[in-house]
């Protein structure tokens, strides 16, 4: 009787536990679906219908050719080709169009949300995992790149997946190498900066050897060898293209302020200078958050150390390389640091006393949501590029006797995408997209002649400035001195359209003296060389 009762008790207990664990799993799944839903709402309402940006137009242009053509053209660029190939197949399957093309990035972004939960709960428990997933879903930074036709959300997704399998290697001390190796290999073909993830893992391994099972070093070497062998043909292709040396983006050297800005961007998105100043000036609170970590017996786990390294090494490494060698310090390149930062923040806030933890988590989520909304709605968002409005305005207002001048030259791609007007389009400095080689450098001495040639047979000139490469003011000053300014219109931060009255008599002959770029969507692969050496993506 007693035994029977005990058996019944055990069965009941087990049943209760199973049911309770099942209920928890259902609750978690429901929460994750909700988080993905939130991201989807942000996407639909705030981001997906925004104007195509310069970088996106480049992605579309690169992936719009055959598979081999796409590989070839990307080999001239500063990127690896996996994302472009996926975009290529996505377009073949689902057609093209800005929302459709952006959907690919959103899929990776949405998929990253449950993976963030997975790694967060694996490292710190369910609560921290849910919080990591939540801040991923409401992250202004990730929402931005989750809705951009670029590889950054894919990079984020593969990074967090790879980190999950990396941690499993030392926590479970058996197997897991296939998944780790596969994600490492895929990541290497998504972005060159994925190498920073592998570098961090190598440093973590060498500083925490005791954590890892036997043969770890051998297995790491095998994974590294596979990656090197797999990438060798790609590097050969890049070398053959002859553009490897020119592939560094044209960025300014970062200052220490940029380090703080990048943290601000990762957490609160791309905000106006005024708002960003307020955010970064609150830095003494970082000290408070650090001191609040002083909690009895809250030891730093290996995962926490790894996540700390996971954002500190890429950021400081890229900063050091930028200062010492060549500038590569750009928030989106450092997307690889975002999952680690979010997981570290999740741990930190979960480690606080309960009341403080709740308040801090609520405040952070509220600030991030506000960041998404402001970033999505505000016309002053610094990363907004409203080429659509500018092009539609030009389509409606530029007449056949006018000329539309685009500067910097490479910004012609997104204008090209939207512009359907009657006036001809040219660039300053003058550039023929069909000629192999970099975009000609600006020269004050050739500016008058180029301007004369461009404007000779036109009544009015529309100049659209965006992406100041250091010579915008020279061009503007020259036009101000020689022509009458009729109108000015601003479309987004850094994007301004000027209309000038041209006073010269028409001279058809001069049209032949400079290469004027007529709207075309049949560019050749030679153009990529020019883009790679002139733009920062």
């Amino acid at each position: 009787m007693k035994t029977a009762l005990r058996t019944t008790d055990i069965a009941t207990t087990l049943d209760t536990e199973v049911r309770s664990s099942h209920a928890a799993a259902v609750r978690t799944a429901a929460l994750l679906v909700l988080f993905i839903g939130i991201a989807a709402v942000f996407s639909a309402v705030l981001f997906v219908n925004q104007s195509l940006r310069l970088d996106e137009s480049q992605s579309l242009w690169q992936s719009s050719r055959s598979v081999w053509g796409t590989i070839l053209i990307v080999s001239h660029d500063v990127h690896v080709p996996l994302y472009h190939l996926l975009l290529h197949f996505s377009e073949e399957l689902f057609g093209n169009g800005v929302p459709t093309d952006r959907m690919l990035s959103f899929i990776f972004f949405a998929a990253a949300i449950p993976v963030m939960y997975k790694i967060g709960s694996y490292a710190y428990g369910r609560s921290a995992g849910i919080f990591a997933a939540l801040i991923t879903a409401v992250s202004p930074f990730l929402n931005w790149y989750g809705n951009e036709t670029r590889m950054y959300s894919m990079l984020m997704f593969i990074t967090v997946l790879n980190q999950y399998y990396f941690i499993k290697i030392y926590r479970e001390r058996r197997g897991g190498w296939w998944w780790y190796g596969a994600t490492a290999l895929i990541g290497s073909f998504v972005h060159y900066f994925f190498a920073l993830v592998l570098l961090t893992q190598a440093l973590f391994y060498f500083t925490n050897k005791k954590l890892f099972p036997r043969h770890t070093l051998r297995n790491f070497f095998i994974v590294a060898a596979i990656i090197v062998i797999a990438m060798a043909p790609w590097f050969y292709l890049v070398k053959q293209s002859g553009t490897f040396a020119n592939s560094s983006p044209g960025l300014a050297k970062p200052t220490s302020i940029d380090i703080f800005n990048i943290f601000s961007q990762f957490l609160f998105g791309f905000q106006t200078d005024g708002l960003n100043t307020i955010i970064v000036a609150l830095w003494p609170l970082a000290m408070l958050f650090g001191f609040l970590l002083l909690q009895s017996r809250r030891e730093v786990s290996p995962e926490t150390a790894y996540f700390f390294m996971g954002f500190a090494i890429p950021i400081l490494g890229a900063y050091a390389v930028s200062v010492i060698w060549s500038p590569v310090f750009l928030a989106r390149y450092l997307t690889v640091a975002v999952p680690s930062l979010y997981l570290f923040v999740s741990w930190m806030l979960s480690a606080y006393p309960r009341a403080v933890s709740r308040a801090a988590k609520t405040a952070l989520v509220a600030a991030m949501v506000a960041g998404v909304l402001v970033q999505g709605v505000s016309a002053a968002t610094p990363v907004k590029e409203d080429y659509r409005d500018a092009s539609e305005y030009l389509t409606a207002n530029a007449e056949a006797s006018d000329i539309v001048i685009i500067s910097a030259p490479f910004t012609i791609y997104p204008v090209d995408y939207y512009y359907r007007g009657a006036a001809a389009i040219a660039t300053l400095p003058a550039w023929d997209r069909y000629v192999i080689g970099p975009i000609p450098a600006f020269s004050s001495s050739t500016l008058p002649a180029q301007t004369t040639s461009l404007t000779a047979n036109h009544d009015r000139a529309w100049i659209l400035f965006s992406y100041d490469q250091g010579y915008q003011k020279n061009i503007k000053d020259y036009f101000d001195r020689h022509f009458q300014l009729l109108d000015t219109k601003n479309f987004s931060p850094g994007m301004t359209l000027y209309l000038y009255q041209i006073r010269q008599a028409p001279n058809l002959g001069s049209l032949l003296q400079v290469p004027i770029q007529i709207t075309s969507s049949t560019a050749t692969s030679s153009l990529s060389t020019a883009i790679a050496s002139s733009t920062a993506r």
Binding site: S256, I259, F260, I278, A281, W283, L285, F291, L294, S296
Partner: protein, 518 residues
């Protein structure tokens, strides 16, 4: 309540861990501290000369504190001779000055239960000279447990006078001293006496463990402060023969004490000063990091405040009246360590002026220097995070924000003690209450409450006046940091919204603490 840890031979020992911070990290701390000081002292243009001078003085004091702390952490161990067979006679002194009978009884019961072949328990009864109505109770307890009770009839010297009086009445070569609320474990003497095999060892000291640390924010914060002191600091001092007596849970060699002139009755921290004199005469000290007695933390804010006042006053007296730098017979490390411990209580003035800087900016726009806020952050944040890491690692992750907040918030206590010493006001030995005092102690946190109010008004004024500039936002963040640091102190001073937990955890030593056992 006597814990099973107290008389249970099966219990796991609780040893306060040694610091695990490496020499590279210590050197990095030094480099970063110097770099930070260099940057703020020389690279930024000065705004207000007076504020700048005050800031630099404060930073110099911080440098002194960080360097002496790192000096404490440098060595990990110092070998001591130990012979468990060395079992000379010991007089066990339990100092009493009007405490409740049950508290006395608990300690006497624990003391008589010690497993050691040769000791006599004496209750040192100061109740009569202290004018306590219950001064006869210790006699009853002594009678009940068959121990000696020495009742003073001539006042003077407070606790030190009580011990000196008992020394004259007893004869064993060693004396163990316990405050009445610190009950020894059964193995206290067996683990403390073996060190005296070295004839140069003058005293041994073990930690003051607060078994009621789970009870409230005050008891918890007090224990967390003790963990830093009896962990990394005392273990570090021991490596330099600079560990000092802490008034209870200690054993003294009679000859060493008499050579030093007995317990010094001129100071309210008689243990600290007497240690200095014993060391100065070439005696050694041994710090035993294992918890061998369990006591009570002050349970109410008034008692905590009064305990902190006494420590601040007594320690600062050493700086100004017995400065260890000029005391003959001490080694260099002993001088540094004694000065570091006694000068700690000057930090209140530094906390105070640092807290004032944001307020001064809000109301006047003046700052010590003009710098890009991010330029300062670039050097400051890595430095401070390194300091936090060092603090955590060196205390085996036992130090808490609450303890830090209580330490920072003690600035009015420390400044008052400083002013009293400068003005020559005589100190009075106040025994920390062994019973919880009830009431509203908000007036003791008045400076902090005033600070919060002034900061809030100042923030609004600055924003209204200057807008959300980088400097305004930066200073708001500094003020918020100070407010957060003062919050545990203010909360402890205010009347509790709900009564403290009445149920003690199942074991005094929590599972997490067991991890700390080394």
């Amino acid at each position: 309540m006597i814990l099973d840890t107290q008389d249970n031979p099966e219990r796991e020992p609780l040893v306060l861990p040694r610091n695990e911070i490496g020499h590279q990290a210590i050197l990095l701390n030094i480099v970063m501290a110097l770099a930070y000081f260099f940057v703020i002292a020389f690279l930024f243009p000065v705004d207000s000369r007076i504020l700048f001078a005050i800031l630099i003085l404060g930073e110099l004091f911080h440098l002194w504190q960080i360097f002496t702390y790192l000096h404490t952490l440098w060595r990990k161990e110092r070998p001591h001779a130990f012979n468990p067979e060395f079992q000379p006679g010991v007089d066990v002194f339990i100092t009493v000055a009007g405490e409740p009978e049950e508290v006395i009884e608990e300690t006497v019961r624990a003391a008589t239960g010690m497993q050691y072949p040769n000791f006599t328990v004496h209750i040192l009864n100061d109740g009569l000279v202290a004018g306590k109505a219950n001064w006869r109770e210790p006699r009853q307890v002594a009678k009940k447990y068959g121990v000696d009770c020495i009742t003073r009839t001539m006042p003077g010297g407070a606790k030190a006078g009580n011990i000196n009086h008992a020394l004259a009445e007893t004869h064993e070569p060693f004396a163990a001293v316990f405050d009445v609320d610190h009950a020894p474990h059964y193995d206290f003497l067996t683990k403390m006496m073996g060190y005296f095999i070295d004839p140069k060892v003058g005293f041994t000291q073990s930690p003051q463990y607060y078994r009621n640390h789970w009870m409230s924010g005050i008891t918890g914060g007090a224990w967390e402060q003790q963990e830093l002191f009896f962990g990394a600091i005392c273990r570090g001092k021991d490596t330099m023969n600079a560990a000092f007596m802490c008034g209870t849970n200690m054993v003294i060699r009679r000859s060493a004490l008499l050579e030093a002139g007995g317990m010094h009755e001129t100071s309210i921290t008689e243990d600290f000063l007497t240690s200095l004199f014993i060391h100065a005469r070439g005696w050694k000290s041994v710090y035993v990091p294992e918890v061998l007695a369990e006591g009570l933390a002050p349970e109410d804010f008034r008692s905590y405040y009064s305990q902190q006042s006494r420590w601040a006053r007594g320690s600062l007296e050493m700086v100004f009246r017995y400065n260890p730098l000029f005391k003959k017979g001490l080694t260099f490390s002993q001088r540094i360590q004694y000065l570091a411990s006694s000068s700690y209580y000057l930090s209140g003035a530094v906390v105070f002026v640092n807290a004032l800087f944001p307020l001064i900016f809000f109301y006047t726009g003046l700052e010590p220097f003009r710098a890009s806020t991010m330029a300062l952050a670039t050097i400051f944040l890595p430095y401070i995070f390194l300091v936090i890491y060092t603090l955590q690692k060196s205390t085996n992750f036992s130090y808490t924000f609450r303890a830090l907040g209580l330490s920072m918030s003690a600035f009015p206590i420390q400044m008052k003690a400083f002013v009293q010493i400068l003005s020559g006001k005589k100190a009075k030995f106040v025994v920390t209450s062994k019973r919880k005092l009830s009431g509203n102690f908000a007036h003791l946190a008045a400076p902090h409450i005033l600070y919060v109010a002034a900061a809030m008004i100042g923030m609004s004024y600055a924003v209204w006046h200057q807008g959300f500039t980088a400097s305004v936002v930066d200073n708001i963040a500094w003020a918020l940091f100070n407010i957060a640091a003062f919050t545990p102190f203010i909360m402890a001073a205010l009347p509790a919204a709900r009564p403290s937990r009445a149920i003690e955890p199942a074991t005094a030593i929590q599972p997490a603490e067991k991890q700390a056992i080394s």
